[in-house]
């Protein structure tokens, strides 16, 4: 079933929308959750919660690409879940490694701390992503949006793992410079 047809079912409050969503995207969403949580049960819980959130948000939302929409819900849900779980358990998950890696892109300085709205940060990130080549963008988002392991990101970007690592390093440096240029410091 096409995405638009499934979205229409949500709008009609037809519960088969959930079954169709699960049938089409359960594996995809499970993978997103698992790469953050590294726990099958927790991931299952987050993905199930995604369908609930989708039901609650459509309408009024009418996403053009259902996979991206559901993927975002899952990603947010998994990150929130992990934050709640973090105080109890720490480990070298991909998510935690990504947090650590991206710390390098956080500008530091002696200027006073500025409060910023996430909306502005999102805008800047979009502008920064626009400056990247498609390959660099895929590398960056594959790693830091989808939390794909480095070897997998390297694979679908057509790079060796070493090349992917060093290119990610350069992108993070550029992001830091970009954010500094825009006046964002810790």
């Amino acid at each position: 079933m096409e995405d638009q047809e499934i979205v229409e079912l949500y709008w009609k409050r037809d519960e088969s929308a959930l079954e169709h969503s699960r049938e089409k995207y359960h594996g995809y969403l499970s993978r997103i959750a698992q790469q953050i949580l590294y726990d099958r049960e927790d991931s299952e819980e987050v993905v199930n919660d995604t369908y609930f959130k989708a039901w609650q948000s459509m309408p009024p939302q009418r996403p053009s690409k259902l996979s991206i929409y559901l993927g975002r819900l899952t990603r947010h849900g998994a990150i929130d879940y992990l934050r709640r779980r973090t105080s109890q358990k720490r480990g070298g998950t991909t998510y935690e490694m990504c947090v650590e890696e991206l710390e390098e892109s956080v500008p530091g300085g002696e200027t006073p701390q500025q409060a910023m709205e996430e909306k502005l940060l999102v805008q800047l990130l979009n502008q920064f992503l626009e400056t990247l080549s498609p390959q660099a963008r895929a590398l960056f988002l594959g790693r830091y949006y989808y939390f794909d392991p480095l070897w997998e990101v390297a694979r679908y970007c057509g790079l060796g793992e070493g090349q992917a690592k060093s290119q990610l390093f350069r992108i993070r440096k550029r992001l830091k410079a970009y954010l500094e240029q825009e006046g964002f410091v810790v």
Partner: protein, 290 residues
């Protein structure tokens, strides 16, 4: 703002960017490789000759009167010439390379615990080349990767150099503007495989494409080394002029120092070396597989 804030904010980036990545994640790797990522030997200098003009003359005459390549690799004039890399402006920043003594060294592999490989520092790359760099800026000492580069202990700096990172040692190979006559021009002159193969693994093409990570160790190393010896003697052929059929598998030959040579086993007994797709050799390979 912490890394976590950045990660969270990334959750709201433009849907079109996510769609592009999502499509890429679903397409089989082989198709992805040819979609928009240029292979090492297909990178194109947009304006043609740039930094190569630095070197002036193209080579030195050999004893036979033929012409050696710029690396001084000896070989018959009938070897396969691998032309200078061409760097697409759109991907300049993504191709890891730097220019040293008129040679372009491209990033090819990473050795995780490779500190012992690092020799004397030979120079520093500016790292200033990116998508917007004009061709007249492709000069000695420039590159898309910045930082100090070093000799690789035990290897000829005309062929291999390295850069050091906290995650490992990146190897850079001058794999263009060279003439390759036999397998030995690469396996021996560049990678010194006669030092010995410590570990050899085979991976089928389906496992490679499916990215299963499954490999099979080759235990008959003596037989393998004899095969490698045959490969070093084999004359180089132009891949473009050879019908190799499909790739059947991959051979990973790792030396004791961590340097790894990746061979591709093609149809009709052809063999290629990863990062040198313009050249192939024909040596029966089925008998060495586990």
């Amino acid at each position: 703002m912490k890394g976590e804030q950045l990660l969270h904010a990334l959750g709201e980036v433009d849907e079109e960017y996510l769609r592009q990545v999502d499509e890429l994640r679903r397409i089989p790797p082989k198709k992805k490789r040819y979609t928009w990522i240029p292979m090492a030997a297909c990178l194109c200098l947009v304006a043609g000759v740039t930094a190569w003009a630095l070197r002036g003359g193209m080579g030195m005459p050999t004893k036979e009167g033929g012409q050696a390549n710029s690396n001084g690799m000896s070989g018959s004039a009938q070897g396969v010439y691998v032309p200078p890399l061409k760097v697409e402006h759109e991907s300049a920043d993504m191709t890891g390379f730097f220019i040293y003594q008129g040679r372009m060294y491209s990033q090819v592999d990473m050795v995780q615990e490779g500190q012992k490989l690092v020799g004397a520092q030979l120079g520093e790359s500016s790292g200033t080349i990116d998508e917007w760099t004009s061709e007249d800026q492709y000069l000695e000492g420039t590159g898309s990767i910045g930082g100090a580069f070093y000799e690789v202990r035990g290897y000829d700096p005309q062929h291999l150099l390295c850069m050091v990172y906290d995650y490992g040692v990146e190897l850079f190979w001058n794999n263009c503007d060279i003439t390759v006559s036999t397998g030995g021009d690469v396996l021996e002159e560049v990678f010194r495989l006669s030092d010995g193969i410590a570990q050899a693994e085979f991976q089928s093409e389906s496992d490679f494409q499916g990215d299963t990570g499954c490999t099979t160790r080759i235990t008959r190393l003596e037989q393998l080394e004899a095969w490698v010896n045959a490969l070093t003697q084999a004359p180089a052929l132009s891949s473009a002029e050879t019908d190799m059929g499909q790739c059947f598998g991959h051979l990973y030959l790792t030396k004791a120092d961590g340097v790894m040579v990746h061979l591709k086993l093609m149809g009709e007994d052809y063999v290629q070396i990863e990062n040198l797709p313009g050249v192939c050799w024909q040596v029966e390979w089925l008998s060495i597989l586990p």
